[in-house]
């Protein structure tokens, strides 16, 4: 298990300088809280939707480099996409984490750098944390009122 297999440079970049990391979001529509009970990671994710598109997404919380970097990469990827498309990418990422070849490799952006994580089962949950949070945020938005808070544990 070598460090290089897991921690690609692009991952470390996101980890060191995360994008869209913030404790709050103006005019947020949904706020979800995810935690990974096994490693004790916690993530708050806030989503703002305009015209059925991800207008903005920010995350905050505690987590290892993989979870933080993955959430950062995710936030870049989904911002601006329409909700269905974002959900589809989240599913593609999830499948990639379980060993499948991603169907939309190009659209996953820096998310593709996490493909190697699939080889480290314990870290798969870390990489998924942000993606599962955004998926829940979107699904909550679609099911729910204009604004609400969901506390959801993986």
């Amino acid at each position: 298990m070598s460090m290089e297999d897991l921690y690609q440079e692009i991952i470390l970049d996101h980890y060191r300088k995360p994008h869209n990391r913030a404790p709050s979001l103006e005019d947020e529509d949904v706020h979800v809280h995810h935690s990974n009970p096994l490693c004790g990671d916690e993530m708050d994710l806030r989503l703002r939707v305009v015209d059925d598109r991800v207008d903005a997404v920010v995350f905050d919380g505690e987590g290892c480099s993989i979870s933080q970097a993955s959430a950062s990469a995710m936030s870049d990827v989904v911002t601006g996409r329409d909700l269905k498309d974002a959900l589809d990418l989240a599913e593609d990422f999830r499948k990639m984490m379980h060993g499948d070849e991603p169907a939309r490799a190009d659209d996953l952006g820096d998310g593709i750098a996490f493909q190697g994580v699939a080889k480290f089962p314990v870290r798969v949950k870390c990489a998924l944390l942000g993606w599962m949070a955004v998926r829940d945020a979107i699904e909550s938005y679609e099911q729910g009122a204009s604004a609400h808070t969901v506390t959801h544990e993986e």
């Binding site: 298990m1 070598s2 009970p37 490693c39 004790g40 990671d41 505690e62 290892c64 480099s65």
Partner: protein, 411 residues
């Protein structure tokens, strides 16, 4: 009073494994210890020579199997200075705690009563009781910790002052902070306030590492697990006062634990069998017996002495690394050999992964002590823990790995 670690190490097959060309440095014995060949041989002998079920056979194999199983009970009883009639084999320490929760706590505590436990318990010694409390409406009180990770006994005195506390569940040694709790003193505090109160001790992290006398400790129940004391997986034990077991209703019911069964009821077998339903962990008991033999041969005083000296060096080594904070007591005589630490700015998961990549196995996470983690304001720690096969040569790889993690994950 010291033993030869390099020679001993040869008895533990996994330790001679290499990971990516690096020596395996196993520092996760608080999660599960390595298993020596003598234990594997004992199990193999059962499977290859006496393989059969226990207790009811009239043929030779079955008698040998029974002797192995009951012999292991006698060995374990002697090892912890208890009556063999008070040694109930379980699948792990968790089952032992649940046995107490179901057969004593749930049958004696109700609304208006209180149960005392602590902020540093492993979930195994906490959840069975809070779950019972939820069903039965008694109150659960938690002894808080002092700054240096000890039980706050003054606070405990206040918590029992109203005389409602009828049961104490406390860990002997913390699997996170390493703290050795003064179980005797806490028991006195509880029993002074309520003389009939029962005391249950989670000895999972104590019995592998120091001499323990159940009789001297004066507890009513004491939980143990085999896989942390050089034994196999799949076996643990509840040690109890046999008179108390006599009075209690059973927990698991079925074959072997009954005297007679009619269509609508049953009478129970003698203790400890009353608490051992179904085909027991025969091979595992044989293995645990061999583990106990080995520990006895090493001498638990020598084991403890070795670990105090190694923990001293471990604490020194960790303190020498910048940005490392050690959780729990810093005096090695007050603690066991599980050492939790934080590396400032690096998540424990990343510390663990870096160490793992260097062949150093440590545990990261909440260590099944969520209430303690909240209390410490943490989500997780990294924990290095040693045992009889560890020595100072295992400390340099640990320190190197932490240094490497600091560099690699510096922001």
């Amino acid at each position: 009073m010291t033993f030869d670690v390099p020679t001993l190490r040869k008895e533990f097959p996994t330790l001679s494994r290499e990971l990516d060309g690096q020596r395996l440095v196993y520092l996760d014995s608080a999660a599960s210890s390595q298993t020596p060949r003598v234990v594997l041989d004992a199990m193999d002998r059962y499977y290859s020579w006496s393989r059969s079920n226990v207790h009811r056979g009239v043929y030779q194999l079955a008698e040998e199997a029974t002797d192995l199983y009951e012999g292991a009970r006698a060995k374990l009883a002697a090892f912890v200075d208890a009556d063999p009639r008070g040694v109930v084999f379980t699948k792990n320490a968790t089952e032992a705690c649940n046995l107490v929760a179901y057969s004593w706590v749930r049958r004696h505590l109700g609304e208006g009563d209180a149960l005392l436990t602590t902020m540093m318990e492993h979930h195994a010694n906490h959840v069975p009781f809070t779950f019972a409390a939820r069903d039965l409406g008694f109150e659960v009180r938690n002894v808080p910790l002092t700054e240096d990770g000890q039980l706050d006994l003054d606070a405990a005195r206040e918590l029992v002052a109203d005389g409602r506390v009828r049961f104490l569940a406390v860990g002997h040694v913390s699997n996170v902070l390493g703290t050795i709790n003064d179980v005797g003193e806490l028991s006195r505090i509880v029993r002074d306030a309520h003389p009939e109160a029962k005391v249950h001790v989670d000895g999972t992290q104590a019995v592998p590492h120091m001499p323990v006398s159940f009789r001297e400790l004066g507890a009513d129940f004491y939980a143990i697990t085999g896989h942390k004391m050089l034994g196999p997986t799949g076996i643990g034990a509840l040690i109890a006062r046999p008179e108390l077991l006599d009075e209690m209703e059973p927990f698991l019911t079925g074959g072997d634990m009954i005297r007679d069964v009619t269509l609508d009821g049953a009478t129970w077998n003698d203790v400890p069998h009353k608490f051992e339903a179904g085909t027991p962990m025969i091979a595992e008991a044989a293995g645990l017996g061999a583990a106990v033999d080995l520990l006895t041969e090493l001498d638990m005083h020598a084991v403890r002495a070795h670990e105090v000296s190694l923990t001293t060096r471990m604490l020194e080594a960790l303190s020498s690394v910048d940005d490392v904070t050690i959780h729990g007591p810093l005096d090695p005589t007050l603690r066991g050999c599980a050492v939790s630490f934080a590396v400032d700015g690096v998540h424990p998961h990343d510390v663990g992964a870096m160490l793992g990549s260097k062949g150093v196995c440590v545990r990261v996470g909440h260590h099944c002590t969520k209430p303690l983690m909240r209390c410490l304001g943490l989500n997780a720690t990294a924990r290095a823990s040693t045992y009889v096969y560890n020595d100072v040569d295992d400390l340099a790889p640990l320190v190197d790995g932490i240094e490497a993690a600091r560099r690699f994950f510096a922001r």
